[in-house]
């Protein structure tokens, strides 16, 4: 009797541990928690005129390899620029200090990330350094707007040349 009672208690304990282990696995390995950089990191700053849809903890990639994540995004009140702080893994501490940072979109509709194009300087970035060369996110709406303006022959353009000739 005691033996039997003990065995179902052990079974219940195993069941509860298994359930919580599954919850822990789901919560830490399959969600954005898994993207928190584990090891030590150093911080770089980059200012952009427009960050588009860039979000906190978006990946930072060099040559397509994830080397860190976006730590914070704030507005520089004097230049009215977006200042993005990037936490880079300490392992990747040999990034030339004339590298440039750009904001890319993964795929046509994917999330945005910060891509770093390495430069050729012999000096490397140190903690707290700032990117000199940055390129803002490409706005799909702007591209479409430009395409529509340049692509279709607009009626005002037909009217404009005579007016321009008169002026000459």
């Amino acid at each position: 009797m005691t033996q039997q009672r003990r065995s179902y208690q052990i079974g219940t304990g195993l069941f509860i541990v298994l359930g919580f282990a599954a919850l822990g696995y789901l919560a830490t390995q399959t969600t954005s928690v898994a993207n928190f950089s584990q090891g030590p990191s150093y911080t770089l700053e980059a200012s952009f005129t427009n960050i588009g849809q860039l979000k906190l903890r978006a990946p930072v990639k060099l040559a397509g390899v994830r080397i860190g994540s976006v730590e914070s995004i704030s507005l520089d009140p004097s230049h009215l620029d977006a200042v993005v702080r990037l936490a880079i893994d300490q392992r990747y501490d040999e990034i030339p200090d004339d590298s440039s940072a750009s904001i890319f979109t993964s795929g046509l509709l994917g999330d945005q990330y910060v891509g770093i194009q390495p430069g050729g300087s012999p000096d490397m970035f140190k903690d707290g350094d700032q990117f000199v060369l940055t390129q803002s996110s490409m706005q799909l709406e702007d591209l479409i707007g430009k395409f529509l303006v340049s692509g279709s022959p607009p009626k005002p353009a037909d009217a404009a040349p005579p007016a321009a000739e008169e002026k000459h």
């Binding site: 219940t12 195993l14 069941f15 359930g19 789901l26 399959t30 993207n35």
Partner: protein, 255 residues
């Protein structure tokens, strides 16, 4: 004439709902008393939880594999198979995990609760307990209710984990998706609180509802073999309906 009958049907339904609500209050009042019979609660967690693991794990695996196969086919039309992990995990965490587990739980554990309590009533065991000054609500009903509340969220997590494993099996091992892409797209778009924990809240609510309906139907079943059979059927029917309706309401609130 027919109006009177219809009103009596509606009255019966309302009376059932009301009795169920009052029964919930009675159970909650009996919960402190049931802590003295804590071992009974543990035994019920073993019975409704651990003994349901096999069916939950098997079904989770197959649901995940089917999701992997179907969504791979649909996503390949748009060239978006890289999002397979994301879509599978989100649909499991937010909807399929809690709901399918609750439906399986109603069939596997709810029916046995109803039949057991109904037969206890039919064989006068509940009256005997009352005679011995043991409150059957505290000794029989509340432990089963608590066990449902505890076991279903845990079973849901196991179901989800096996579902992800099944989708990985089909998508990566069989159809040749890239392993890194599968996981990194998933971790990029699944949120702990909004997706995983909200699903767990849902399954806590479903566990309470299914266990409540099961013990209520068993406790109020007519003490005949026909009555117990009918109560068992009603447990499955009404807990399935309530789980699906409650799922809609909770989704609307938790979104």
């Amino acid at each position: 004439m027919s109006g009177a009958r219809r009103s009596s049907v509606a009255g019966d339904a309302l009376a059932q709902i009301g009795a169920c609500g009052l029964f919930l209050l009675q159970i909650l009042a009996a919960v402190p008393g049931s802590l003295r019979h804590f071992r009974e609660t543990v035994r019920q967690v073993w019975f409704v939880g651990a003994m349901s693991l096999v069916i939950i794990m098997t079904c989770g695996l197959f649901v995940g594999m089917v999701l992997g196969l179907q969504l791979y086919y649909v996503l390949s039309i748009f060239g978006g198979t890289a999002a397979l992990g994301t879509v599978v995990s989100l649909s499991l965490y937010r909807e399929l995990g809690p709901v399918v587990t609750a439906l399986l739980f109603a069939g596997r554990a709810g029916t046995s609760m109803t039949a057991e309590i109904g037969l206890m009533r039919a064989t006068d065991q509940l009256s005997a307990m009352e005679m011995m000054a043991v409150d059957p609500l505290a000794y029989v009903v509340a432990p089963r209710f608590l066990a449902g509340l505890v076991a279903l969220p845990l079973l849901t997590c196991v179901f989800n984990a096996l579902g992800i494993f099944g989708a990985h099996l089909v998508g990566v091992s069989w159809l040749g998706l890239d392993n890194g892409m599968f996981w990194s797209n998933m971790t990029a778009s699944v949120d702990v609180w909004k997706d995983v924990i909200n699903g767990v809240w849902k399954s806590v609510a479903f566990g309470g509802v299914v266990a409540l309906i099961a013990v209520f139907q068993g406790y109020t079943a007519p003490p005949t073999s026909e009555g117990v059979a009918y109560a068992t059927t009603r447990t499955v029917v009404s807990s399935s309906i309530v789980v699906l309706a409650l799922d809609f309401v909770m989704t609307a609130f938790l979104m």
